[in-house]
């Protein structure tokens, strides 16, 4: 697929996502620098293509810099943007520390900085706002779906955690546990790390199935990301059980392949981690430039729940083109 068609699809999705189209004429012709981490995951690639589409839609001239997972590249890119005299800078910071100097330089040059999808350990007055998802809430939405789905029935859950010690793994675990607290019928029987990957998700799920009476005792699997859920679905099928029916599957991210599984009735729910962080960022920038409205310091994106009732085939088709 060419980059043009990707952008076209991204643009059409972006239009669908921005339900309220506020007049943002004051952004037209602005130059915005965007320092992206890299392209380490499908989601990151989708974020990049959605950001480009969002900028194009508003007539913004987006200067894109790929840091290839290195903070020094990001700092270099930001210094470059400052030297070019851009109107605003967006950064998806690769790590949390070490940003004070370069952000101070941007502040002295009076260029507003917006952080995307990750925060930094720096004084809050050094950046305009930070747009990110609430990972605890994502876990809570997933847990709440399960609570509603099982009702009063007993339910033994197995959990596929992300990489041990990573922030999303800790937060998504915490959120899920908050949601099922107070529902004694739902218990987490086993919890292991699948490193956010398909193959580890499959391997760990195979182990869980053997350990829980051939999988017959498991009522649901909660995966911290969709890729592990896709692996778990294959493990459930290999064990002769029906994913989605015998074992419910709930996960987080909303990548295309989980919608493909939903079309086949093999996944039950996913919580979206939206790749559209740039939309809210541009909205905040527009309001700030128009009359100096200070946006909220932390803008939280929506954690939307998708189930098979939400036209999974359509979601698959729109998302497939985003570079996931």
């Amino acid at each position: 697929m060419t980059i043009i068609t990707k952008l076209a699809i991204a643009a059409s999705l972006a239009t669908a996502l921005t339900s309220v189209s506020i007049a943002q004429d004051n952004l037209k012709g602005l130059v915005v620098g965007f320092s992206q981490i890299g392209s380490e995951s499908g989601w990151r690639a989708a974020e990049t293509s959605v950001t480009k589409a969002q900028a194009e839609e508003r007539g913004i001239d987006l200067k894109f810099a790929d840091a290839q997972q290195k903070q020094e590249n990001q700092i270099k890119a930001i210094r470059g943007f400052i030297a070019q005299g851009v109107d605003a800078i967006m950064v998806a910071p690769v790590v949390a520390t070490g940003w004070e100097d370069v952000l101070t330089e941007a502040k002295e040059a009076e260029i507003p900085v917006i952080l995307l999808d990750r925060g930094v350990d720096a004084p809050e007055d050094l950046y305009l706002t930070s747009v990110a998802s609430d990972q605890v809430k994502e876990g809570r939405v997933a847990g709440q779906w399960l609570v509603d789905a099982v009702g009063d029935a007993d339910c033994k859950v197995v959990e596929l955690q992300g990489t041990v010690g990573s922030t999303p793994a800790i937060n998504r675990k915490q959120g899920f546990e908050e949601a099922i607290a107070g529902h004694a019928n739902i218990t987490i029987a086993r919890s292991q790390t699948g490193d956010f990957t398909r193959s580890k998700g499959k391997e760990v799920m195979e182990g869980f199935i053997k350990a829980e009476n051939g999988g017959k005792d498991i009522c649901a699997v909660y995966a911290h990301n969709d890729d592990m859920a896709v692996g778990a679905i294959q493990a459930i099928k290999d064990a002769g059980l029906k994913p989605g029916t015998d074992i419910k599957v709930v996960s987080i991210d909303a990548v295309p392949d989980i919608f493909a599984a939903m079309v086949n009735g093999e996944a039950n729910a996913t919580v979206e981690l939206t790749p559209n962080m740039a939309g809210p960022a541009f909205d905040a920038l527009s309001a700030y430039l128009a009359d100096g409205t200070e946006p909220a310091k932390f803008i939280i994106t929506e954690s939307k729940l998708y189930t098979p009732a939400d036209n999974p085939q359509g979601e698959y088709d729109t998302r497939k083109g985003l570079g996931y």
Partner: protein
Amino acid sequence: MRRLRLDRLANPQLLALVGVLAINWLLFPSFFHVTWQDGRFFGSFIDVLNRGAPVAILAIGMTGVIATKGVDLSVGAIMAVCGAVAATMVVAGYPAPIAIIAALAVGLACGLWNGFLVAVLDIQPIVATLVLMVAGRGIAQLITEGSIVTFNDPSLIFVGTGSFLGFPMAAVIAVVLMVLVTLLVRRTAIGLFIQAIGVNRAAASLAGIHSRMLLMLVYALSGLCAAIAGIVVAADIRGADANNSGLWLELDAILAVVIGGTSLLGGRFSIPMAVVGALIIQAMNTGILVSGFPPEFNLVVKAGMIILILLLQSPYAALPFKRRPAASNKTASS
């Protein structure tokens, strides 16, 4: 034919494997419970064979490289490249056999590149293979365009999830490969030559061994093994995950070879024992999964077990046991 001697079976690797399996059995009593389901065996022990296969396949190739006093850090990245090649080709509509042959050819080419750097340009193996370790994953991402390429071709999927006589295909491939490569090095002089190069390359060359040719051969074999492992892993999850396929598996493969008793200083080597080493590592992984340890303990438990196994193999650990039983054996047999 060599006589099968009973004391050869009592080597540290097999004892360690039995020990790890016994611990698994204690922690999870139905560990060896194997049932027949959908035309295949099904159980935790079968999982060990199935999941251990990719590292075992890598270890087969890695043994030859390490025996020449080298190391191949690029196998994980080659896995990602070859998985990506196979997946994108079947998605593009090529038949599975063509895609598999192409992926194997790419793996072989990667191995020959490593061999060229080491044998012809005389670059140290750890540096030479580091090139592909870093660049390979980038190449794989270019091939998949950064996303996971999912496929549904039944013959390619069969390589990863099919079964032969009830055993998982991945394990069958590993065993066949182990037997073929072992025959190749032990029934010809190649094994002896590899050992000679590992002990002293200059002396081996002076003695008339084509050391360049043989080094190219071992690195090419390692690349080919990595390609097979990459295809198996991609077929298993029905998708090529360029970011994660084979990530850090080169270290597991080296560990398997070392547990198998092959010295990193070159020379003495054993391919079947490297496969046993891979099984030991996987038996620990599977044991941790079924036993219900919290994931925070995974690496600590693994590290502790590996230190124990390596200590058991050290000559010093064997000293108090070896001398006297050996003496008593002699008197008993005479």
